[in-house]
Each structure stands twice: as structure tokens, then as C-alpha cells.
């Protein structure tokens, strides 16, 4: 496999370069929207790590996203932490939560895993409402512009400034994209795929599948938390809607659309969904109907998602 490593690497560099170039090309609105899409694509990439590679379908990933969202948002809102420290708090929250949830939920598989993760996410969501005094409940909290500045050696980076925000989103996206490519092609990634394909056989080969799955849950949780933390810091809003079941379903849809177990599928799916909604909502209030029809057509003609099907049919080397 080593001989074909160049093409995937070149493709990923090209995608990052294209996103960088788009910073200069896009009109203001699409520039802002793409920053948001990149942050949410990170959420989808985190989801894809568990769903695509390990084959574990979680219906509760909104809790990992919102662990990052609230971990960083509350650290700034109540404790006045700096942006980097708050981002770190978001990651630690995601890691801690995913470790605990992983330990408990991985005792189940299949449909039970879906239900258990969904229930935990519901507990997390209702806890946010219950502790409304600190979390702002269903209304949420606003992080002021003055709280979203980074001081680096005398230079102030303002995360509310469009170009800085775009570049911060691109930076996070690039790091996570390269990390998922690295994981997918590492020995660890291959064990995960082996678990997906046949867990019993993987066990028989001497792998500790529980430990590997747990590591995957934590890695997935941390990536989703990074996305949530970035969402709070870049867009300034922390609210329980982002922890609701809808936000557990969305990354699943994005990944299914783009292609599960492809590194770039989450980005493709997120961009696609966002623009279908953005364009069609300008014409009709029944835009979710259009989204539904688009999803049905995709499942019919691209059963493995856009990139998954392209890989199956034409471009075998696509990671």
C-alpha cells in the first residue's frame, strides 16, 4: 500500500490549499458560511471516525460536541478564562465525557449502542436545561466579542474578524483532516476497520478490541469537542439546541452523504447539506422536503455516499 501514498497526500494538500484560496475568492456571506461549515465538518469527521471506521452507530454525538461547546463557553463566561485555556477546557471536557460514556456504552453493540448513546445524550441535554442558572438553559449564553480575543506576543487576534475566524476554522479543519488521514492509514486505524468487518476474528488474532474501540470513542469525542469549542469561540453562542437530538442526527447525515470511512466525505456531506438548505430555503418554506428528496436520491444512486461510491467505482486509491 505504501507506493500509492502520494496521491492521497497530494489530494488532501490540494483540498486545504483550495479552502485557503477560497478565503480570498468568496463573497462575504459565503466566506462566513464556509467558516461555519468547516467547524461543523470537524464534528462530522469526529463522528466518521467511530461510525465509518469502527462501524459503531452513535445517536448521541451531540453530547460530545456540546461538551466542547459548554466546556469552553462556560470557562469564558463564568471564569473569564483566555481563549486558548477555554479551548483546552473544551477538549478536556470532551475527553472525560467520552471516556466515561465509552466505558459504559461499549458494553453494548448494535441497536443497543444506538439507544444507550441516545439516552446519555438526552441526559446531557436535560442536564443543561436543569442547570439553567449556569448554562442559560434553552435560551443559551452569548460570549461577548471582547472575550473572544487571543493575545499572542503583543499581537491581538480577533476571532470575530472574518478572515481570522476563517483561518482559525481552516487551521482546526486541516489539523483534524490530517489527523484522521493519519489514523485511517495507521496500524490503529486498520485494527478499527478489522473490528468493523469482523470483531470476533480480530479478537482471535489477539487484539484487545474493547481497548481499541474505547480509544476510538475517546478520539471521536475529543474531535467533536474540538468542533464544539471552536463553535463557541468563533461564533459566540452557547445554547442547548446544539445539544439536542437533532445535532446527533446531523453528523450522521453529513457522513452518510459524503461517504462513511472516507476522510473527505464529512466535508463533502456538510457542504452539500448546508447549500441545499441555504439555496432551497430562498424559494420555499418546504425546503426540508427538498433535503429529504435529495437524501433519498443519494441513497438510491450513491449508496455509499458521494465519495464512497466514487471510490468504489472509479478512484480506488481515495482514502
Amino acid at each position: 500500500m505504501r507506493h500509492d501514498g502520494f496521491k492521497p497526500a497530494a489530494l488532501h494538500v490540494a483540498v486545504i490549499a483550495l479552502l485557503f484560496a477560497l478565503n480570498f475568492m468568496l463573497p462575504d456571506y459565503h466566506h462566513g458560511l464556509l467558516a461555519r461549515i468547516m467547524v461543523l465538518a470537524v464534528f462530522a469527521m469526529g463522528y466518521n471516525l467511530l461510525f465509518g471506521y469502527v462501524g459503531l452507530l452513535s445517536l448521541g454525538h451531540a453530547m460530545f460536541f456540546s461538551a466542547g461547546l459548554y466546556g469552553s463557553g462556560l470557562a469564558i463566561y463564568h471564569l473569564g478564562w483566555s481563549v486558548p485555556a477555554a479551548f483546552g477546557a473544551g477538549l478536556v471536557s470532551g475527553a472525560a465525557l467520552s471516556l466515561v460514556i465509552g466505558l459504559l456504552a461499549l458494553r453494548t453493540t448494535g441497536v443497543a449502542f444506538m439507544i444507550v448513546t441516545m439516552m446519555f445524550a438526552q441526559v446531557f441535554y436535560l442536564s443543561i436545561l436543569y442547570f439553567a442558572q449556569w448554562t442559560g438553559g434553552d435560551q443559551g449564553l452569548v460570549l461577548q466579542q471582547s472575550q473572544r480575543l487571543i493575545e499572542v506576543g503583543g499581537v491581538t487576534l480577533d476571532l470575530t474578524e472574518p478572515v481570522t475566524r476563517y483561518m482559525a476554522a481552516l487551521g482546526l479543519f486541516s489539523v483534524v483532516l490530517v489527523a484522521t488521514l493519519f489514523i485511517a492509514r495507521s496500524a490503529f486505524g486498520r485494527v478499527l476497520v478489522a473490528i468493523r468487518e469482523n470483531e470476533e476474528r480480530t479478537k482471535m488474532l489477539g487484539y484487545d478490541t474493547f481497548a481499541n474501540k474505547l480509544a476510538a470513542v475517546v478520539a471521536s469525542g475529543v474531535i467533536c469537542a474540538a468542533s464544539g469549542a471552536a463553535y463557541a469561540l468563533l461564533f459566540g453562542y452557547v445554547g442547548s439546541t446544539l445539544a439536542s437530538v437533532q445535532y446527533s442526527i446531523l453528523p450522521l447525515l453529513w457522513v452518510l452523504l459524503g461517504g462513511a470511512a472516507t476522510t473527505l466525505g464529512p466535508l463533502v456531506g456538510t457542504v452539500f447539506m448546508y447549500y441545499v438548505i441555504d439555496v432551497t430555503s430562498g424559494y420555499t418554506s418546504a425546503y426540508m422536503l427538498v433535503v429529504g428528496i435529495a437524501l433519498i436520491l443519494l441513497v438510491l444512486y450513491f449508496p455509499k455516499g458521494v465519495l464512497g461510491t466514487i471510490r468504489d467505482r472509479w478512484v480506488r486509491w481515495l482514502p
Binding site: 463573497p27 456571506y29 458560511l33 449564553l141 452569548v142 478572515v163 418554506s285
Partner: protein, 428 residues
């Protein structure tokens, strides 16, 4: 990072260079609008809840908005320019709400954004308004604007906030309904406003909240909560909202039978719902807060009559086209009044285009009162520019004979409270 990029190649110059490339991807969403010229219409972005949980309110907000714009344009527009409404649906979702405000500012190039109702959408969208320096006039009744936790570009000049409304109810409840009050409210933010603001307001009037019963938002049956209501309760103060309200009222009726305490509620529970719906009989004789009365009243002003005719609601507060289509009359007047506040502030500041956004913000902050009349049919208002919030009269209506009759109007002062901050100290 940004300064380096800006020095070497700015987005604007790059935009010109890449014009041809951008042309290739030009779809309907990529159209760039030229800067508004003085002859062009004033563009107001209406952030509508066309879908999602707020849709029934959103429909009536849109109808009121269109009626107000028609009236404003018929009278010559704003600064001699016609007003154009650009509607975007936010799906009653705070994430989408922020995107919609960004779209208003950067794609539609509107002059102001307006009309948001649900609190979480207002709070979610507020950062986008502040960052884009887009004046954002909401019609939400939430306390979020007045709490001064949002930013200098967010205003609520056309409807009073829930803290003020609750406080204004206390004197009437204490002197007419009873001194011992039990509150039943949904266990989320809307209920918490009532939980937190009513007890001190009642205390000041010599009455007490003797029990507070929070009901989880997922609950669909309420009977098990009713035994928690103390036996010596004089008044049950209820603010249940959503589809569960019919079950709530029915079960409360079964629990008490004919021998019940006084009932006082906020009409928010029953906005867009016919008060004569089966199951609501138990509410006969009880009292409700209303922002603006749903039913036509004998002492309605000419302005109120003209407003109702313009929006198209009949004497029962239903659509003139469909008597079953009940309006959200207690709140939607806020869209009408807010548009006239925008008009007044634009005229005061000699507003020409987006470059005058800061002037428009200052002109809005400089407003102090709105007289009752065709522009403010609900009643007179006092505006506090430091907290960007208006204060006005409230109505208490009694449900009798299948209609809501106003039995008391509060004074503006009943709903006034000490400001919690000052937006005018924030930079523009």
C-alpha cells in the same frame, strides 16, 4: 495571521482578480448587490419563524409586518424611500438564525434586521448582528435585551419584556385575586422568568408565592403534580405553553371540579388557540395577561381599530378570511410598532445607507417615548436607550362568555424596574 494576509493581498483586490472564477460558480445565492443608492428602497431583513416550533407565531408576525410596511409605503416610505422586506426563514433554530443574520448583512445587504420572536434564536443571532454591525430590532418579549447581556446593535423597542410584564401583574393579583399564590410553570427558561420575577413583585404588594411547581417540558400528563398545590392557595398562576396546555387545563378541571381557586395565566399559553376549544371550559371566569387584546373592546381607540383592519383580524381576533385562524394578537402588534420605531430612528438620523448604521443605533438610543396613535396602537410607551428596551401598559382580561374582556389596564410605571446595565458604554 490576518494582518499578514491583509498586507500581502486584500480580500477586495483578490475578489476582483478572481472575478472570472467567481462567475463560474455564480448561482442565485452568489448575486452581489450594489451599495444602496438614495433612490433605492430601504431594505429590512425579516428573520421569520416560517418553520419549526415558532411557525404559528411566525405566520402572524409576517402578516402584521406586511400590513405595516404597506401602510408605511402608502404614506411615503422612510426618508422618501419605499420599504422592502426581505424574508429569510430561520427554522426557529439559533444556529440557523445566526447564519440568516449573516446572510442579511453580507448577501442581501439589508439596512436592518428585524422581527425575531423566540428568545433562543434572538440570543443565538445577536453575536452575528454585533459582529456585522447590523442594527437588529427584535420582537421577542424576552428579558435578554434588557439584561444588557447581548450587544449594542440589538434593540427591543416595540414590545415589553417578560420581567416587566410579570412585575406589572403583581399589584392586580394581590388586590383582586388573592394573597397566596401557587405557580405552575414549564421547567425551562420561559418558566424561569416567571419563577424568578413574580415572588419579589408579589412580596412588594403584600402577597406571597407559597409553592412553585416546575413541570418538565417532556411531560404529557399533569395530574400527579396537582396534589403538590397547597390547600390554602388563593390563586393558581399558570404559564404552561405548547400543545400540552389543553391536557393541562382539562386535568386541572378534573382535579378541582367546580370548587377551584382563582386562576391567572399568561395568554402565551393560548396564542393562536381558540379559547372556546373543547377542554378549555374550565378556564371560564379566569384571568389572563394580554399584551394587546385579542377581542375587540368597547373602548378601542380609532388607532387600534385601524390597526386591526389593516392586519385583517375580526372582532374575535381571528383572520377575516378564516374565523378558525386565530391570531397571536397579544404579541404581533410588536412588529407593527417596531417598524415605526425603525422609521422614526432612520428619519431622526437622516439615514442613507449601511455606512450610517452607527448613527442609526445612536438615534434609536436617543428615543425616549412613543405616543399612543396609529404608529403605536397598543398604547403609549417609554423607551430606555441604555438598555434598548421599551416599557408599556399591560392588559388583564377575564374569560367570560367565550371571549376575553379587558378588566384592567396597568400603568407603564407598574412595569418599570432599575436598569441592569448600559449598552451605550459599548463601542460602536
Amino acid at each position: 495571521m490576518s494582518s499578514f494576509i491583509r498586507k500581502s493581498i486584500t480580500r477586495r483586490t483578490a475578489l476582483k482578480g478572481f472575478g472570472a472564477a467567481a462567475g463560474l460558480v455564480a448561482g442565485p445565492g452568489f448575486v452581489r448587490y450594489s451599495q444602496a443608492q438614495s433612490s433605492e428602497p430601504i431594505r429590512i431583513g425579516f428573520q421569520a419563524h416560517r418553520t419549526g416550533i415558532g411557525a404559528s407565531y411566525g405566520r402572524w408576525y409576517e402578516r402584521t409586518t406586511n400590513a405595516a410596511v404597506k401602510a408605511i409605503n402608502a404614506a411615503g416610505g422612510i426618508n422618501g424611500r419605499q420599504v422592502e422586506i426581505i424574508v429569510e426563514d430561520d427554522g426557529t433554530d439559533p444556529g440557523r438564525g445566526a447564519e440568516v443574520v449573516g446572510k442579511f448583512a453580507n448577501q442581501h445587504k439589508v439596512d436592518v434586521a428585524f422581527g425575531t420572536l423566540f428568545s433562543h434564536v434572538v440570543i443565538g443571532s445577536a453575536p452575528a448582528a454585533g459582529e456585522n454591525k447590523l442594527p437588529y430590532y427584535v420582537v421577542s418579549e424576552g428579558h435578554h435585551v434588557a439584561s444588557t447581556k447581548l450587544n449594542r446593535y440589538v434593540f427591543q423597542p416595540g414590545i415589553t419584556d417578560v420581567k416587566s410584564q410579570i412585575q406589572a401583574m403583581a399589584p392586580w393579583i394581590a388586590s383582586n385575586a388573592g394573597k397566596k399564590v401557587t405557580q405552575i410553570f414549564p421547567d425551562f427558561a420561559f418558566g424561569y422568568d416567571h419563577r424568578d420575577y413574580l415572588p419579589p413583585a408579589l412580596k412588594a404588594q403584600g402577597a406571597d408565592v407559597i409553592a412553585q411547581i416546575a413541570i418538565p417540558p417532556t411531560e404529557s400528563s399533569f395530574t400527579k403534580y396537582f396534589p403538590q398545590i397547597p390547600a390554602d392557595t388563593d390563586v393558581i398562576y399558570h404559564v404552561m405553553v405548547g400543545p400540552a396546555v389543553l391536557t393541562f387545563v382539562k386535568e386541572l378541571g378534573e382535579f378541582y371540579g367546580s370548587n377551584r381557586p382563582q386562576l391567572f395565566g399568561f395568554i402565551d399559553s393560548l396564542e393562536a388557540v381558540d379559547v372556546n376549544s373543547p377542554g378549555l371550559e374550565f378556564l371560564e371566569g379566569s384571568h389572563f395577561w394580554e399584551g394587546s387584546p385579542r377581542y375587540a373592546q368597547p373602548d378601542d381607540s380609532d388607532a387600534q381599530k385601524a390597526y386591526r383592519a389593516a392586519v385583517g383580524i375580526d372582532d374575535n381576533g381571528a383572520s377575516v378570511d378564516d374565523p378558525k385562524d386565530i391570531s397571536t394578537a397579544a404579541h404581533m402588534f410588536g412588529c407593527w410598532e417596531t417598524l415605526y420605531v425603525i422609521k422614526k430612528a432612520m428619519e431622526d438620523s437622516g439615514y442613507q445607507g449601511r455606512d450610517d448604521a452607527a448613527k442609526l443605533v445612536e438615534a434609536t438610543e436617543a428615543l425616549t417615548e412613543f405616543a399612543e396613535g396609529p404608529e403605536h396602537p397598543q398604547g403609549p410607551k417609554i423607551f430606555n436607550g441604555k438598555i434598548h428596551q421599551c416599557f408599556g401598559i399591560q392588559n388583564i382580561s377575564k374569560l367570560e362568555g367565550g371571549r376575553l374582556n379587558v378588566v384592567h389596564k396597568t400603568s407603564i410605571e407598574d412595569g418599570m424596574y432599575e436598569p441592569e446595565g448600559d449598552y451605550t458604554t459599548q463601542p460602536l
